[in-house]
């Protein structure tokens, strides 16, 4: 006879797996759009603006639904240990995917202000490289989550450093252009958008590590010990992330 408790937990795990699948699908939607829209952007194809806006709206709507469902699951099922970490990570990462879609949309919208086809070739090449590497970082972060690769965050963070360097190189090259106009303003924004997309990829990889180990790896400037400065007796129910591995489900 089936154990009713196990049946109930199977239902929870099915629901959690479903949320995870929906999150990955939303992330893949952005991952697919990034190289395609970036390439079209560099060709000055203004038709991608509508595509980017629709993609961003779809992804944001789905992330909102995932978040709502995730919170209800959290409240109803009272998960512990790795189940709790996985659900918390999913709730956090919907923000990363939603913002990345929005940032890509903003990048495409700059086509209303300038035409990348008329950029100086070195600048254009640098922008192309920046978008390519930022896309790789985002995809790598999503892959780290899909594969539950707790160690990938180090490589993803290192690749993100390359994005930051490319951003600096891009602005350095732009400063050498004679009589720059609006394009300087837009290049600054574009570089920022792609840098942030890469940052979100790092955050996703970081959450993959968090789920597996319960630890938040420091990336960039961040130092994030959980419950830092909070006395143990002040934690709700006397429990906290330190207890996420204690006696719970694996």
């Amino acid at each position: 006879m089936p154990d009713s408790g196990r049946d109930l937990r199977t239902g929870f795990h099915t629901a959690l797996d479903d949320l995870d699948d929906r999150f990955v699908t939303a992330g893949l939607r952005v991952a697919e759009a990034l190289p395609r829209l970036s390439e079209a952007f560099l060709l000055g194809d203004v038709t991608i603006i509508e595509q980017a806006e629709y993609m961003a709206w779809e992804v944001a709507s789905e992330c909102e639904r995932i978040e709502d469902d995730g919170f209800v699951l959290l409240a109803r099922e009272a998960p512990v240990a790795s189940d709790l970490r996985r659900l918390v990570a999913l709730l956090r990462m919907t923000v990363d995917v939603s913002r990345s879609a929005s940032l890509l949309r903003h990048a495409c919208l700059t086509l209303r202000q300038f035409d990348p086809r008329f950029l100086d070739p070195p600048l254009r090449a640098q922008l192309e490289e920046l978008s390519r590497v930022a896309t790789e970082v985002f995809v790598a972060g999503l892959d780290a989550w899909r594969r539950r690769d707790a160690l990938a965050v180090t490589d993803v963070d290192r690749a993100d450093d390359a994005v930051d360097e490319l951003q600096r190189l891009l602005m350095g090259q732009a400063s050498e252009v004679d009589d720059p106009g609006t394009e300087l303003l837009v290049l600054g924004l574009l570089a920022r958008y792609y840098e942030r997309i890469a940052d979100h990829g790092v955050e996703v990889a970081r959450d993959a590590t968090f789920v597996a180990t319960g630890q938040r790896v420091a990336v960039g400037r961040e130092r994030l010990p959980p419950f830092a400065g909070m006395d143990p007796q002040d934690r709700p129910g006397g429990r906290g992330p330190d207890d996420l591995d204690a006696g719970g489900e694996s």
Binding site: L185, R223, G229, D234, G240
Partner: protein, 241 residues
């Protein structure tokens, strides 16, 4: 922050009806929720201190100001993560429903907005410093000053509204957010006089950051309104809702 122990004013009466045990537990949950909320407001006030550096024009910014802004931003980020962890754990342990659940979700979302706002404000200080070093941009301080004042006002008003539990404030916040968007668009249209790439990029990013700070203020208003009423106010300019 309150612990799982019951409030001292409730007697431990063995003959109390069974359902009152649940009431005592829920009172404890609400006490912890209020404590978290108070800490969130404290965190938001900390973000405001970074913002005051942005609008203070009595003295030029310097590297010390930038370092203070970045340190405060780091502190906000650490505290926000701490509070977020506590909030998630509380939801998992207490299984709140209805308004209790909405309030906790709104709090968790608001923490994210505060975290991002702190970081954005530090970036604003950084880019104001860049522009300040270029003598031509002192002529633009009026426009930049107005944009940063209104952006910070949207954020500050949002925090005040959160503290007051004013579910209707989001309407005013959205109106002012449009004002910020227009001011920031104006900054970009005027462009730069000096032709320096660093200044052009700094101005563009400054406009973008100020716009986002106001967006996060609106987001706070949206979260609060939803927590109290259960209705989502559409905020197109917000990155989240």
């Amino acid at each position: 922050m309150g612990s799982a122990m019951p409030p001292a004013d409730l007697p431990d009466d063995p003959q109390r009806a069974p359902w009152s045990a649940g009431g005592r537990g829920r009172a404890d949950y609400r006490s912890q929720l209020r404590e978290l909320d108070a800490r969130l407001v404290g965190l938001a006030r900390g973000v405001e201190t970074i913002g005051r550096q942005i609008v203070d024009t009595s003295a030029d910014l310097d590297l010390d100001a930038l370092e203070r802004a970045e340190d405060e931003s780091d502190r906000v980020q650490q505290l926000a993560t701490t509070l977020e962890d506590a909030a998630f754990t509380l939801v998992a342990l207490e299984s709140p429903v209805a308004e209790d659940l909405r309030e906790m979700i709104a709090l968790i979302r608001a923490l994210h907005d505060l975290e991002r706002t702190a970081r954005l404000m530090a970036h604003v200080v950084e880019h104001l410093l860049t522009l300040q070093r270029c003598g031509h941009h002192r002529l633009r301080s009026g426009e930049i000053g107005q944009a940063r004042e209104v952006a910070l006002a949207v954020f500050t008003d949002a925090v005040d509204a959160w503290d007051r539990r004013d579910a209707l404030a989001v309407n005013d916040l959205q109106v002012r957010d449009v004002e910020v968007d227009d001011l920031c668009d104006g900054l970009l249209e005027h462009g730069v006089d000096c032709g320096r790439a660093t200044c052009a990029a700094a101005l563009a990013l400054l406009a973008r950051f100020l716009e986002r700070i106001a967006d996060h203020g609106v987001a706070l208003g949206v979260h609060l309104s939803w927590a109290i009423t259960g209705d989502r106010v559409l905020a197109e300019s917000s990155g989240r809702r």
